[in-house]
Amino acid sequence: MRELTGGTEKVAVDGDNVREAIRALESLYPNLAGLLIQNDQLGKGIAVAVDGRIVRRGLYEPLRSDSEIHFIPALGAG
């Protein structure tokens, strides 16, 4: 992911939910949003953690003004 952000690890953007935050990233890193959102849902193999919890509402997870978002591999289990 750092390759797509030119090495930047942390980015601050505005958004009321994860989808809006990704859209805000689009203007900064045009290639990133297309990978994070595919077919109107999180991209294949991707999960999202908001404020330390892997969340179920994905793109629609609400954000606070100080929320921290991490895009991580979907983990699965047995």
Binding site: G45, I46, G52, R53, L75, G76, G78
Partner: protein, 757 residues
């Protein structure tokens, strides 16, 4: 999402009542897959590919169709080409349903020895098998590729021309012809290794292993005259089977009822369809119910094993034992279709240590083996084997105590994970201190050729959707129905949570597992999630029941509901302390106050408590044969709160034994043409009770604030550290470092001889 306030004292949770399904299981009355029969039922058998990689040029079923006693024959041509092929599996990611369908019955190519090509339904299984063998398949043989490094090499045979990588944030072009790639990083490894006083780099290989459930895959399907389909099957998730059947057969989900029977083991391998759609279509064509039973050879050849791997890792530490940098490269077999356990495997490789500079690469590699399926903490055992043996090596190089070394580097609450976010409450330090203070760690190992090894392990676990129904009967008993198949005593652990919440005895709760028409949607019993996530659904339904019952008490006493105090199964009138109903008394008054009470809750909890464990093992190695005997084994694990400590102990012991098998014996043997050679449990050698000592389970409890009673999942992490712990003990005993699994007597003897000579 808010954290729960966990009660300091619990009345039911933490006790050990008898499980309600126990008697039927030990007396043979419980209904497993093969116990199920229907009138006029046919029996199905599958024709499987004898080749590991081939193009299907033609299939002639005419002789089979003409065989006396045969009622239906199906090939891939009888199944729809799927139009909507990707489904969301929550935290598990997304599943390509065309791959799932093609894995059930090969469409244009066969991708592994044992891949289903056609199926027959006949009056009995013998006729079906004989007729299946009359089906003529013309194959164009292709070169197989059987291990990850060969599959990633230049000019490797390509399995899927149209393969699109399922990589995490990979560009849309292929990473390699047969592989997807994911990367994780934090800090700067280059700087980190520059700061290190000692750096070691090692390579490891592990072989393909099977989940080894004793009951094979068994299904009975009936296509009704009205087009409604009923399926009785042994599964970890009735809703998953229903949804997958609906998608591969292009049927409405509501047209399919899946009834889960008891399950004789799954461990991750019974979370998806194999013979199920074949039985359904055979039933449709024959007009009769069809039962299909996979034998052991079919199960080993064609159902989900877990990945063989190639791992290369590098660790850097200061002389005081502080880890400063780590690189991890893990290539995991995906099998015939992409989507193996690479993500959890590499994500857990280092997660239990607080290392500032980390770089991780994972590859999901297509090979001509069955589609890899989850197996108890999928992917974590090989990566733990690599890292924990390297940690042991660092401890010896730096002359540091292995517990002290791990304590110095242990991940603690709030530390950043390699996934980026801060670690939730975790009791790793407590686990390591428990090891340090345990009599086993302080005891003398005694005797020649004996050694002691330690390994430390981690697993994430998951939440995901669960449902639960509660209904109060007029005698005060309560029916509990969940959508979670019971693999490990979860009927009673759910009943105990209901009893705790309702303030009644667990013997007054009657738990059951519902079919897909009788209970709300639930994700599979996987990911150590049922006691945690379905437990939360039960808790929420119980709160609803209590609220409804409080309304009834208020109605009877003609007071406001706010004046009802609920205290441990009693409903009290705050305005008149003389007035009180027990749960049973109030249940008896429901009929006259508005009728029975029921509640349903659907929960999808996010407050997952991570699993952390340490395993300590003593062993003896015979220098003449290379055989290892496990002498003493202690497993320390944080359960958050052990709802039923006996079953937590059982999970720890079961997972440990599977890990011992992975460490010492279990592996798939393929010949050069890709034929699986050990297709029985005689040749696929799992540990028996004679191979392992009593495994002492030490249960610690660092509560998970994401659960009302502090529960964490416990089922998966016990399989993670055994291989590394045994390898470290072997080094202690004999001075040899094993970098391959399984550590068979032959390999150990070779290594001993190479050191001696």
């Amino acid at each position: 999402m808010n954290d729960y306030v966990i009660p300091e004292k619990l009345r039911v949770v933490g006790t050990t009542p008898i499980r309600p399904d126990g008697h039927d299981k030990v007396t043979g009355r419980a209904k497993f897959g093969d116990d199920f029969h229907l009138p006029s039922m046919l029996h199905g058998k599958v024709l499987r590919s004898p080749h590991a990689h081939a193009r299907i040029k033609s299939i002639d079923t005419s002789h089979a169709e003409a065989f006396p006693g045969v009622h239906a024959v199906v090939t891939a041509a009888d199944f729809p080409k799927i139009t909507s092929n990707v489904i969301d599996a929550g935290e598990a990611g997304q599943i390509d349903m065309q791959d799932v369908a093609d894995n059930c019955i090969a469409r244009e190519k066969v991708f592994y020895d044992g891949h289903a090509v056609a199926a027959v339904a006949a009056d009995n299984a013998h006729i079906a098998e004989e007729a299946a063998n009359l089906i003529q398949v013309d194959y164009e043989l292709l070169d197989p590729v059987m291990d990850v490094r060969s599959a990633m090499a230049d000019n490797a045979p390509v399995l899927h021309d149209d393969f699109l990588p399922g990589a995490f944030l990979a560009p849309t072009e292929k990473a390699l012809p047969n592989a997807s790639k994911l990367e994780l990083a934090m800090g700067d490894v280059s700087t980190g290794f520059d700061e290190a006083d000692i750096v070691i780099e090692r390579e490891f290989t592990t072989e393909t292993v099977h989940q080894g459930y004793i009951e094979t895959h068994i299904v009975t399907a009936q296509w009704g005259a009205n087009g409604m389909v009923t399926v009785w099957t042994t599964t970890q998730g009735q809703f998953a089977i229903r949804d997958q059947l609906a998608l591969v057969l292009e049927l409405p989900m509501s047209a399919i009822t899946v009834i889960p029977l008891e399950i004789g083991g799954g461990f991750g391998g019974k979370d998806s369809i194999y013979i199920d759609p074949l039985a359904v279509v055979l039933s449709k064509q024959s007009g009769r119910p069809v039962k299909m039973v996979m034998n052991r050879a079919e199960t080993l050849r064609a159902t989900g094993p877990s990945s063989g791997t190639y791992i290369k890792a590098r660790l850097g530490a200061k002389t005081d034992g502080t880890l400063v940098a780590a690189e991890f490269h893990g290539a995991y077999e995906a099998g015939a279709y992409s989507g193996g356990p690479v993500a959890p495997g590499v994500s857990t490789a280092l997660t239990r240590y607080n290392i500032p500079n980390v770089k991780i690469e994972g590859y999901d590699v297509l090979v001509n083996k069955p589609k890899m399926k989850p197996y108890r903490a999928p992917g974590a055992t090989p990566s733990n084997f690599a890292i924990e043996t390297m940690i042991d090596e660092l401890c010896r190089e730096l002359k540091l105590d292995p517990v002290e070394f791990r304590l110095r580097n242990a991940l603690t609450t709030g530390d950043r994970l390699v996934l980026g976010f801060p670690c939730p409450e975790i009791g790793g330090v407590e686990i390591l201190k428990a090891v340090q203070n345990h009599a086993h760690y302080q005891s003398d190992i005694g005797g020649p050729h004996r050694g002691r090894g330690l390994a430390y392990g981690f697993w994430f676990g998951a939440g995901l959707p669960s449902s639960a129904d509660l209904m109060v009967n007029s005698d005060g008993t309560v029916q509990l129905c969940s959508g979670s198949p019971d693999m490990s005593g979860t009927r009673i652990t759910l009943a105990m949570q209901a009893a705790e919440a309702l303030g009644i005895e667990p013997s007054d709760i009657f738990p059951s597992v519902g079919d897909t028409t009788s209970v709300g949607y639930s994700f599979q019993t996987v990911a150590s999630r049922t006691t945690f996530a379905t437990g939360i659904a039960v808790y929420q339904a119980a709160q609803d029941i209590l609220a409804q019952m409080a309304e009834r008490a208020a109605l009877i006493w003609q007071i406001a509901t706010d004046n009802i105090l609920i205290d441990c199964g009693r409903f009290l009138n705050e305005t008149n302390i003389q007035q009180c109903f027990t749960f049973k008394e109030l249940a008896g008054k429901l009929d006259g106050t508005g009728g029975p009470i029921a509640a349903r809750a659907l929960a999808s909890p996010e407050g997952v408590g991570f699993q952390i464990t340490a395993h300590l093992v003593d062993l003896a190695v015979d220098p003449e044969t290379g055989k290892i005997d496990i002498l003493r084994y202690t497993a320390f694990q944080d359960a958050g709160k052990a709802v039923h400590p006996d079953f937590v102990e059982g999970q720890i012991q079961g997972g440990t034994v599977q890990g011992i098998g992975w460490a010492l014996n279990e592996e798939y043997f393929y010949d050069e043409a890709g034929h699986l050679k050990n297709t029985s449990l005689l040749d696929y050698r799992m540990p028996t009770i004679l191979d392992v000592p009593n495994i002492e389970a030490v249960i610690l409890e660092t509560p998970n604030p994401g659960h009302p009673y502090g529960v964490r999942g416990v089922g998966e992490v016990p399989i993670v550290p055994p291989a590394a712990a045994i390898a470290n003990a072997l080094y202690d005993a004999a001075g040899i470092r094993m970098n391959t699994l399984p550590m068979t007597p032959a390999k150990i003897l070779d290594k001993l001889n190479s050191v001696t000579h």
